[in-house]
């Protein structure tokens, strides 16, 4: 059974259909890129997959649970246990150091473990910046802290929203390399992006347009 199944979901805001009858399945360990122009419904889809929103219509089955039927508390629990979120704007807590930002996710999941948090930062190449505040880190470094935070609780899905949107090319490559490493380790990755370079390194890519899936294709060059 697929890790994530979206069955004919729609998200309607008044007159606007942000998502229109979208169906999608994501397998365990798959690296999926969701692409499309602005207003195509990428962020709405990400919010629904990330359990931060519910569809107006349809079913979203994540690891056997229908999130459309979950309460707010249930969605919070799913986010905490199964999903790692990476944001374009990083969203680090600006009064906590890099390692403390990673530990925040541990704190709300189980117990903070500074050693494990430091290892997560080491994995993204930031061990030496652990005690720095976000304001003392570059954009690329902040994004890597955000990735370390997303990975610290070993989520079943890592969901990244425009992860390279605010990064220069060098940092973009670093982030892509981390994603490759995560994929090789069997992590399920869903990356929402409008950047073709990021989309094309994924194993599979769907393109949204006006809330509908316009293209769904497997990358023939993946892994080469």
């Amino acid at each position: 059974m697929s890790l994530l199944q979206l069955k004919n979901i729609s998200k309607i805001y008044g007159e606007l259909k942000a998502l229109d009858d979208v169906s999608l399945e994501v397998e365990n360990g798959e690296w999926l890129a969701i692409m499309g122009p602005s207003g195509s419904g990428k962020s709405t889809l990400m919010n629904i997959i990330g359990c931060m929103d519910k569809p107006s219509v349809g079913e979203v089955i994540l690891d056997g649970r229908d999130i459309a039927k979950e309460s707010d508390k249930g969605l919070t629990e799913i986010r905490r246990e199964k999903i790692g979120l990476i944001f374009q704007q990083f969203h680090l807590v600006n009064y906590l150091t890099a390692v403390e930002n990673v530990m925040v996710a541990q704190y709300y999941h189980s117990l903070p473990d500074e050693k494990e948090a430091l290892e997560a930062l080491e994995r993204v190449g930031l061990a030496d910046r652990a005690k720095h505040l976000p304001s003392q880190l570059s954009g690329g470094e902040q994004q890597r802290v955000c990735i370390a935070r997303a990975l610290i609780n070993h989520p079943e899905i890592v969901l990244a929203d425009e992860p390279t949107g605010n990064l220069d090319e060098a940092n973009e490559n670093i982030v892509i390399d981390i994603f490759k490493q995560l994929h090789n380790e069997g992590t399920t990755l869903i990356v929402v992006t409008h950047d073709p370079e990021v989309g094309e390194v994924a194993q599979r890519m769907i393109v949204l347009d006006h809330g509908k899936i316009k293209t769904d294709r497997v990358n023939p060059d993946f892994g080469k």
């Binding site: 969203h91 009064y95 403390e100 929203d161």
Partner: protein, 428 residues
């Protein structure tokens, strides 16, 4: 981690937290000041009213019955109290609440063809109590409103023993053209007697037409050595409540526990009752005007202070509401992120409330001491004395501050609960 986050929030938002602490401090300082004054004001008002004279009069039982029947004040019913029992007043259960007392005996005398009332009393009498204590008491302390227009207060202890002193009321002195230092001859039942005018007073009441002389002199003139016609007592009392009113009518109607409560509380009626126990065949009764004034003033003062306390706390709660709501709005991204990574509403509410509570505790502590200072200013300005620090005010203020902080934070917490991570993180 929890404390690191709280510490971080304090460091980052110190200005806002300081404003919240200041708002709480303002409310708690006013609450502390008002509650402290409110708790102390009973004694202060009592002391203040004591300057307006005695609040208990003691008369012989038969005289009291006649007075009650015919509503005659000062009727000569040929009944007397014993001077030897006077010291017993300071041996009752509420002895320490007896501030002053003075005995009275009066006789008729004639001066310049006019019949006048000559009153014998203690002026500044030195009394050796049966308990071994000593006490200086008399009308000098009881009639503080008397204005000495000529001469000085008669002092029994320093007056020349070769002459008999007298104090003359202003109206009488004017009619008889008397001045301080003059010698007057009074015709009494025991014959003529010369007195030296020690001072002339203005009392503003019927005493302006009377003369006051030392107790023993008048007792000799009226042939009532060792007897008194009345005693005036100034006592610190607790305002009457239902129990006191019931007991005043008939102490026998009380249950044993009610009786013990009443007897061991400084109600005017229980002090009267205890005085009657130690003065033979006496009736002690409150001077209703003073007792009622005390009750009415206290009630109104309490109400006013309660209103000020409530208003100050409501003001604080509104201030906290604004500040905490602004803080939550400013931190909506952070709160959204915490929710996105799995923090429950309860966990975030606990975090925000802990920050506000800690800030509130600091504010309350500062406010408590500032409030105590305010209380002293009120005490000195209004009552001319300090306000006693009452420890039980601390838990009361603590509970009020917690309630105010919680109520003040409610709108912000509601807002926090309604924040959706998708909306704040993606601006949707």
């Amino acid at each position: 981690m929890f404390f690191r986050m709280i510490k971080g929030a304090f460091t980052r938002q110190w200005k806002k937290m300081m404003m919240i602490a200041l708002t709480v401090a303002l409310g708690s300082s006013l609450a502390t000041a008002m509650i402290n004054v409110m708790m102390d004001v009973g004694d202060k008002v009592n002391q203040e009213l004591k300057t307006y004279g005695a609040n208990i009069t003691v008369v012989p039982k038969s005289s009291s019955v006649v007075n009650s029947l015919y509503e005659i004040e000062g009727a000569d019913t040929q009944a007397y109290l014993l001077e030897s029992e006077l010291g017993n007043i300071k041996t009752i259960f509420w002895a320490f609440n007896i501030v002053d007392f003075a005995p009275f005996i009066d006789t008729k005398a004639e001066l310049g063809g006019e019949q006048i009332r000559l009153v014998g009393t203690w002026f500044d009498h030195h009394l050796e109590l049966p308990t071994g204590e000593t006490l200086n008491t008399g009308v000098q302390n009881l009639r503080t409103w008397w204005d000495i227009t000529e001469g000085e207060w008669l002092s029994e202890r320093t007056w020349d023993k070769d002459t008999d002193p007298v104090m003359v009321g202003e109206a009488l002195a004017k009619r008889m053209s008397l001045h301080s230092g003059d010698t007057v001859t009074l015709s009494t039942l025991s014959g003529n007697k010369d007195f030296v005018v020690a001072g002339i007073y203005s009392s503003g009441d019927e005493a302006d037409d009377e003369m006051f002389a030392p107790m023993d002199t008048v007792q000799l003139l009226s042939d009532k050595d060792g007897y008194l016609s009345s005693i005036e007592v100034s006592a610190l009392t607790t305002p009457d409540n239902e129990l006191a009113i019931k007991a005043a009518k008939d102490p026998g109607s009380l249950t044993i526990s009610q009786y013990e409560t009443w007897y061991c509380t400084a109600y005017c009626s229980s002090i009267c009752y205890q005085i009657q126990e130690v003065i033979t065949d006496s009736v002690a009764s409150p001077v209703r005007q003073v007792a009622d004034s005390e009750g009415a003033i206290l009630e109104k003062t309490h109400l006013l202070m309660l209103l000020i306390t409530i208003l100050s706390l409501v003001g604080s709660a509104l201030g906290i509401t604004n500040l905490v709501t602004a803080s939550v709005m400013e931190r909506s991204n952070e709160i959204g992120l915490l929710k996105a990574i799995g923090a429950t509403n309860g966990a975030i509410s606990a975090l925000v409330l802990s920050e506000i509570m800690l800030t509130g505790i600091v504010g309350a502590a500062v406010g408590y001491f500032a409030g105590f200072g305010f209380a002293q200013i009120i005490g000195q300005t209004v009552f001319g004395s300090s306000i006693e620090m009452k420890l039980f005010v601390i838990p009361i203020v603590a509970v009020l501050v917690i309630a105010v902080v919680l109520v003040g934070s409610l709108p912000a917490i509601r807002m926090l609960l309604s924040l959706r991570p998708a909306e704040v993180l993606h601006g949707r």
